[in-house]
């Protein structure tokens, strides 16, 4: 591939205190692609995501966005970079004390130089995109889990980010909504050219949207390739994942926190 990656992760070692979760992870993200990071529970997917968006600082290794190293950035530079990223958290992570509309317009108010009317229209646009038109005046606790997640997505794309990070977009959504979200991700990528980084273990969604797959197991990258590469790979763990085969006992892998 002659394209230049916009995100380069090299030899990333990260964890929580003395407990290391990621062991020299290296991967690239290319402009305009949808990359899915997969793996069993506790394999370090969420840790990788949190390190990539600067919520956690790695123990060692480097993460570069458009050639700029983020592990060396101070708060301000990181904040500047984060404006170009959108993050949709697993359960939405909406601000409970604000309406849905206020949740989405918060980054616009803080970062965007736009007036009230334009913000309102934009909030309407984002809600339309995630199929929740007319819910702007509701409070987050009036929404179902799946709706919260979609509002979280709307908030993540509020500022037209270059890269959107998704933590398990389809978990706890019904299949129809999940498929709608997949379609939306594809449309957004095609029309707006955004790059999408998805942490997931929804096989259907992976097959449908992922251009490339990175699989983690026990904190290491064990597979990188396209969906069709999966069929050809000799890595047993990858085959097991895609064929939905159980371990001999469920404890055999251990279920670590986070």
């Amino acid at each position: 591939m002659e394209r230049k990656p916009i995100v380069e992760v090299r030899d990333l070692v990260a964890g929580y205190g003395d407990y290391l979760v990621l062991d020299r992870v290296s991967m690239d993200v290319y402009e305009g692609e949808i990359i899915a990071v997969i793996g069993g529970s506790g394999c370090g997917k969420s840790t990788l995501l949190k390190n990539m968006v600067g919520l956690l600082r790695p123990v060692s290794g480097s993460i570069r966005y458009w050639g700029r190293e983020i592990t060396a950035m101070d708060e301000e530079e990181l904040a500047e970079l984060l404006r170009k990223l959108g993050i949709a958290f697993q359960s939405g992570a909406l601000f409970n004390s604000m309406t849905v509309g206020e949740n989405i317009s918060l980054p616009m108010e803080e970062y965007g130089d736009m007036d009230q009317e334009l913000r309102e229209i934009l909030v309407g646009i984002k809600l339309d995109l995630v199929g929740l038109s007319g819910t702007g005046d509701l409070m987050p606790d009036e929404l179902s889990g799946g709706m919260k997640k979609r509002v979280g997505f709307a908030r993540a794309i509020a500022m037209d980010p270059r890269i959107v990070f998704f933590d398990e977009p389809s978990t706890s959504l019904d299949p129809i909504i999940a498929a709608g979200l997949d379609k939306l991700i594809l449309e957004m990528r095609r029309l707006l050219g955004i790059t999408v980084f998805v942490v997931t273990h929804d096989l259907g969604s992976i097959r449908l949207i992922a251009d490339r797959i990175v699989m983690l197991d026990r904190g290491r990258v064990i597979f990188t390739g396209t969906v069709s590469d999966v069929e050809k790979t000799g890595v047993a763990r990858v085959r097991q994942f895609f064929d939905r085969q159980p371990d001999k006992t469920i404890e055999a892998r251990g279920v670590a926190t986070v």
Binding site: S97, I125, D128, L191
Partner: protein, 402 residues
């Protein structure tokens, strides 16, 4: 949003909603839509070229231009999108704003021109291009909101009543019917509510004793009856000061904690989990708290009484210079069983108020995480208010009737 509606779908949209001219172009569908718009034949059409790429500066210019055109009497405006190739959501917002501004001024707006991907973005956002969203209904009138408040108050009182019945049953009756009591919970609660509060309750009562003694000594010295400071302190602390000081400290410490804990448990569905296991919330959560508070607050009040009196003596020791024996004699002489009973009754009633208000507000939480903070605030405010009201009530009863 389904892709099948592109092209052929535009005419369908026009038929379904004739009032709002369809503005979702699709490839080539747009011009047809314009021709089908009501009044298309009569009025002349004003064409405005949408500059591309549509960023803030161009957007504002477009808005000004369309407002000028609509204000100048143009009843049909066509926005020519042929210069647009890509459209981000901010550009789209400007476009929507322009369309709405023209509509508000009575003009019909259509979109036209081949614009590639921008057309698909517009189609994706067709709902936003439709009419302005209706505003939410105006808030209720005076009588209506008064009625709402009355209904809510009634409901809240019913809730409180049910909780009280439950709490009494699970605290005082169920254990004797062999339905058990959470001893482990009770011990932890007594430690939290009682033992850990001894320090702060003692200190505050001691300081208050000192303050009261100083205030009254200044008055008493003008008549040369400083020894009566001892009487005043012991009477004041027995009847009033120890219970109310302790009550307020405990409501700040424990009333808030109870409300916050139960509210958080409710928000995170832990209460539902308990109920789902067929377990009684009152038995597991409420009864231990009720019993612990009823035990702890009177004992804390007694401790507060002793340290308050000690505070009075401390002032004597440093500035009034009576002997300990003299002060002690006066203190004993001034104490009556009646005063101690009054203090005990108050302490007990404050305990009931603190624990019930805490549980009540905690379990009634709504609105997620923010609700937890509001429930806690409400519990403490209600505690202090009800404590003062109960204090007044008992003082009145003892003053006039007993």
């Amino acid at each position: 949003m389904n892709s099948g509606s592109r092209g052929s779908g535009t005419s369908k949209g026009a038929a379904a909603r004739p009032a709002a001219p369809p503005v979702f172009p699709g490839k080539g569908g747009l011009i047809q839509a314009m021709q089908q718009a009501p009044g298309a034949a009569e009025a002349p059409e004003t064409v405005i070229l949408v500059p591309g790429p549509l960023s803030d500066r161009e957007g504002r210019r477009l808005l000004e231009e369309i407002v000028r055109a609509a204000g100048g009497g143009a009843s049909r405006i066509a926005l020519d999108l042929s210069e647009l190739e890509r459209l981000d959501s901010r550009g789209c917002a400007w476009l929507i704003r322009a369309v709405r501004a023209a509509r508000r001024r009575g003009a019909q707006v259509g979109l036209r021109g081949e614009c590639g991907e921008a057309a698909e973005v517009i189609e994706l956002l067709s709902k936003s291009f439709a009419e302005d969203r209706p505003r939410p209904p105006a808030s209720a009138g005076f009588l209506e909101s008064l009625g709402n408040k009355a209904f809510r108050a009634r409901e809240e009182l019913l809730d409180a009543w049910r909780l009280a019945v439950d709490a009494v049953y699970w605290s005082f009756i169920a254990p004797f019917e062999g339905r058990g009591l959470r001893w482990k919970g009770l011990v932890t609660e007594i430690e939290d509510i009682g033992i850990r509060a001894i320090g702060i309750v003692s200190l505050l009562n001691f300081l208050l004793g000192l303050v009261i003694a100083m205030l009254s000594a200044a008055q008493a010295s003008t008549f040369g009856v400083q020894i009566y400071v001892a009487s005043l302190v012991v009477m004041g602390f027995a009847r009033e000061l120890a219970p109310i000081m302790t009550g307020i400290v405990v409501s700040a410490r424990t009333g808030s904690a109870i409300a916050a804990e139960l509210a958080t448990m409710k928000v995170y569905e832990e209460i539902d989990a308990l109920k789902g296991m067929g377990l009684s919330v009152s038995k597991f959560l409420i009864a231990p708290k009720v019993l612990a508070t009823l035990v702890a607050v009177p004992i804390l009040t007694a401790i507060g009484f002793v340290t308050g009196v000690a505070g009075g003596f401390f002032l004597n020791a440093i500035s009034l210079d009576f002997t300990f024996d003299r002060w002690w004699e006066q203190t004993i002489q001034a104490s009556t069983v009646r005063d101690l009973v009054q203090g005990g009754v108050k302490a007990f009633s404050f305990a009931v108020i603190i624990v019930m208000v805490g549980c009540h507000n905690g379990l009634r939480v709504t609105g997620g995480v923010r609700g937890v903070g509001m429930a806690t605030t409400r519990a403490v405010v209600m505690d202090v208010f009800l404590i003062v009201v109960a204090d007044l009530l008992f003082t009145t009863i003892f003053y006039y009737f007993l």
